[in-house]
Symmetry: D3
Subunit: 245 residues, 6 copies
């Protein structure tokens, strides 16, 4: 890796280096799982709520459901953004993100083992500095794990419902160089932005890459996937440490 | 005060005692003022955002505006409540509270001194255990003070726009006894619930008392106002300490 | 009382005098209770509708429910205001008022005696001149009473469900003087505005006082409560006369 | 006309007879025109509000606009209907009716003579017994006339903006017989329902006929139009008397 | 008919002549009935969907329901109009039209014979050149007929549920002359616009006439009804040919 | 490729074969570009509308904007789905798709060359059989090209604003085998679903892959990208042929 590439990152990170990651469990009291996840200055509160009911399309199936909602406090960002509850609707961006979080978590859940109940994952961004959706997925997994442990401790599970870990990271081409875990200033100036969701065993759950400026070539895509795989494997290790603590 | 009355409080407090109060400034990075306020287990993040525009009814007046919005994270409460952004509207309760916060803060602002700009106070409940609106007002004052200091440091103020401090506390009659700063279990079982907003010099800004069960008598009302005055004067002192830190 | 104080009231009233009050029963045909209440030029049509169902949180309880909705015709006011049905939502002010009316009426209802049915109180302002919410509560009680009589006449009640009368009045400090039952011009220029809801036996149901300008002192609050008690006792007498007619 | 046909009307009216009509001007204080119109037990409050602005498509045209909104109090009807403001939208029926009222009034207005301002006609049904839209049009004309007189008295009109009177009536085939001005029980059991809007000089502005059961024949249509012409000419005479009073 | 009158029609039609009519069945694959109806350049896709449920007011009745929805693609028109789904509500015009289509189709249905199921008619305008609602009704009848044949072929009908055909056409007074089946430029410049819905046996289902400029006289109304009767009888013949194909 | 793999496709296609593609220009009259695109039984009407205004964030920039909206007729699908305009909001899926179409088209536009105007792409699905979003992007490019030619013919363009072609295709792993351009039954049973948007020169604009069941491995991802590249290059050739016709 060149000197130039390193110089590009304002916070002194290497191109393939994650920001400092924190996963603080039991962050609030009431939820069955409650995790504050920090990817550098990005802070997302992820709670997992167990509810003894399922949406209509799952009723009577014997199996459960996992769903997610995403929100951002109005002043989580550099300039204040409108409160979605006051505007009366969620933006397309918000809906995209919460659908992504829900699909990502369901990818590692055995919904039959969960039983006919719902785990709702609420991911609320307290402070944003890029990568809120990937932090949310990474934190939501830990919160969901705690909710499963709570169910297990109560004797409510027939079998352990998590088949694998799941975590996510952003990668992008900034100033021509592939970089891992983009902070806000990197994200807003990048040519290509990609979010990658992977399991603990290294399978891909979601790959979403977008050319912001020029289209990207196949070899660039390959480089980004390499970086993402490295990043997610580190995140999964950190999830394991947090859950072992 | 009788022994009985003391025994009534689950957390061992005296009837006239506040819960442990914390006012943590600079809690998040982007806002001009950002305060986490805790009244025991009730935790509210209050941010103050300065915007160089005013609502239509203030345009061209030379004076500013102060407004507030209130929200509760879905799992701030014992059981998960619906996300207002997803439902597409704010409840009547939410609107009542945010109107109260806005009026309370405007009561101590000199809007002419503020200049033609807006301070938006966002009060988001991370964890609820009763008294979220009174905690929000108490924390929002500190956040607003920090935003004013930020404006002053930038040389944008003609005069200091805060005329006094403002804080709020709940009081209620629980099991026949008047009590200060009700926690959730006290609040939900009380006969009368009153929220009192006062200034640093002891003037009343808002008094909102509601009989939940039997109507309350004039002497009970007087007892509640005595308790509230004591509580607010302690809160104002704590605001001063936090701002001096 | 000084000469000055009297001179302050544009309509020649004494400071402690209600406006002319009218309570016209059977104002419209279809509702089980229908009352036009006038506090001077403020005219509110209050209807009570009996429906043989209850909201979800009361189902199967054996007990009933009492709820209220409030509206203002677009040209009830000096300048036309937008129609809430056309805007697609009720304002925060409307929701605050209808929640207040509902709580006030429930305070005097024995919901078990009512049986598993709902009384809906619709309070629609035909003409506004200050004090619409207090007129609405005062009129809604009479309409609710008529609806209970209708139920009783049909043999549908196990026991009489009204435990007491309830009425409301506004008080305020105008030009430094406490005054009863503010008309619009008084209300919009007052320093402190307070709405007080009380029962026939003199208990307080709601006290909502707001400093519009300077905060108010404890002795001012006491003076306002004295005035309000006098006003409500007169209103309760007038309710009794109307119901006896 | 047969004896049978007369016997069909519950209120003793002849088939070609209007219900008792009342047009009470200056019913409320604030509006530039305010008329309570009664067609028997149908009571509609029609206010005309003058506003010194026009909708975007009329800006800069020098000409004005006339528009209408329609609402029904929740308990104007036999059973309580939902409040549209609370539901968050106006029904298709409400929108149809208010569009009809607006078109009908614009048909007799010289919008250039009105000048670049808007007259908003709010038609709110206090009590419904069939024919609310036709009563609303008939009353709105009188309210609009009063608003024009108010403008003229202020010297704000270049020329008188009303070119003719406008009124409306319902007709229908009930039990096989054509009848004028249907009351609710007649309307809900009729085979064909027609609303006819005509000018003072006898021109048709709107004809809206609907077969509720069997289709209607051309000769039936002709009979209904005869009845409607008779009814509207009587209504126009009553409007003239009311405006002369 | 004068030479002048003929010259008025831009497309060379006689005053009493329909545009070229097409009724293309099985236009899309999934619906039980799917018809593209063209009145000249006006093209409306009408689908009939059979659903084995009925709205609440029909449940348990044994009988069915027929309903309609209407939409216009944003660029069906000369200039792009806003997408109603994006605006979050249907216009008053859209609601009026879809209520008219629903009523018109129900006028020829024997809902008991249909059985407890719903036929939903979706009428979506692909290209608009005037008369979209009348084309929609005419095409929806053919689609509904196909859906009934589908039900009959499956043995799901006790009796054939269509009692008659139904079709619709617009007529209007353009430049003083009555004309049949107005194209957009005729419609937007006409003095009077009337939509007439009739059955195959010549009964009237709906007559909706509106004076756009001057009111219309009784003899003009008669002339329009004559034209409409001629047009609908031709349309009904074309429906029959399409269904026989 | 094995025999097994071929046998898997219900319509007899090879795994790497597109469905029959049609691109019918000038499908409707009013739009500046109007293309019916068919990917087998999937039919999407794509119109391009030129409007001489830009959204707020582009005003005064001298440059233009390209945006897209997506809709599906209620009975485009096997079973009828609710009309979004009637429900009052667009689903998260709809918003995701229309954001994707807009980004994809903007990737090949030189917005400065377009000038300060907007091209709105409306993509409405008349019939759905899988791959509606990729068909929409492919058709929208042709419609946008026609709109640019229309602008050029009017002399309104400083420079040709399209830098490249853009097209899209879905790929997926069905029954363990990678397949190109999935039909509905393939899509709903596939393990992994990926939509790939590429330019005429072979650059990637969007890659969105989702594991529906098991996570997918890197080599599977590579195989899917190979298939997609093949498919898009064929689609771009077909776009060129359509535009040359």
């Amino acid at each position: 890796m060149s000197d130039l590439q390193q110089a590009l990152r304002a916070d002194g990170r290497r191109a393939d280096q994650l920001r400092p990651i924190r996963l603080i469990r039991k962050y609030t009291r009431h939820a069955e799982g409650s995790v504050l996840v920090c990817f550098g200055d990005t802070q997302v509160l992820c709670t997992a709520s167990v509810e003894e009911r399922v949406p209509p399309h799952r009723r009577g199936s014997g199996g459960g459901w996992v769903t997610a909602e995403y929100g951002m406090l109005p002043r989580a960002t550099h300039t204040r953004s409108d409160r979605e509850a006051a505007k009366g609707k969620q933006s397309g961006r918000t809906q995209e993100i919460q659908r992504l979080i829900g699909r990502s978590l369901r990818a590692v859940f055995d919904l039959e083992a969960l039983g006919e109940r719902t785990i709702s994952l609420d991911c609320d961004v307290l402070q944003a500095d890029g990568g809120t959706r990937t932090a949310a997925i990474t934190g939501a997994y830990v919160a969901a794990h705690d909710a499963c442990s709570w169910l297990q401790a109560k004797g409510l599970l027939k079998a352990w419902p998590l088949r694998d870990a799941v975590a996510a990271v952003s990668v992008g081409i900034v100033g021509g160089f592939p970089m891992l875990d983009l902070a806000y200033t990197e994200d807003s100036s990048c040519d290509t932005d990609m979010n990658v969701v992977m399991t603990g065993r290294g399978g891909f759950v979601e790959v979403q890459g977008t050319a912001e400026g020029d289209p990207f070539a196949r070899e660039q895509l390959n480089g980004l996937l390499d970086l993402a795989s490295k990043g997610v494997s580190e995140l999964v290790a950190l999830q394991g440490q947090a859950l072992a603590a």
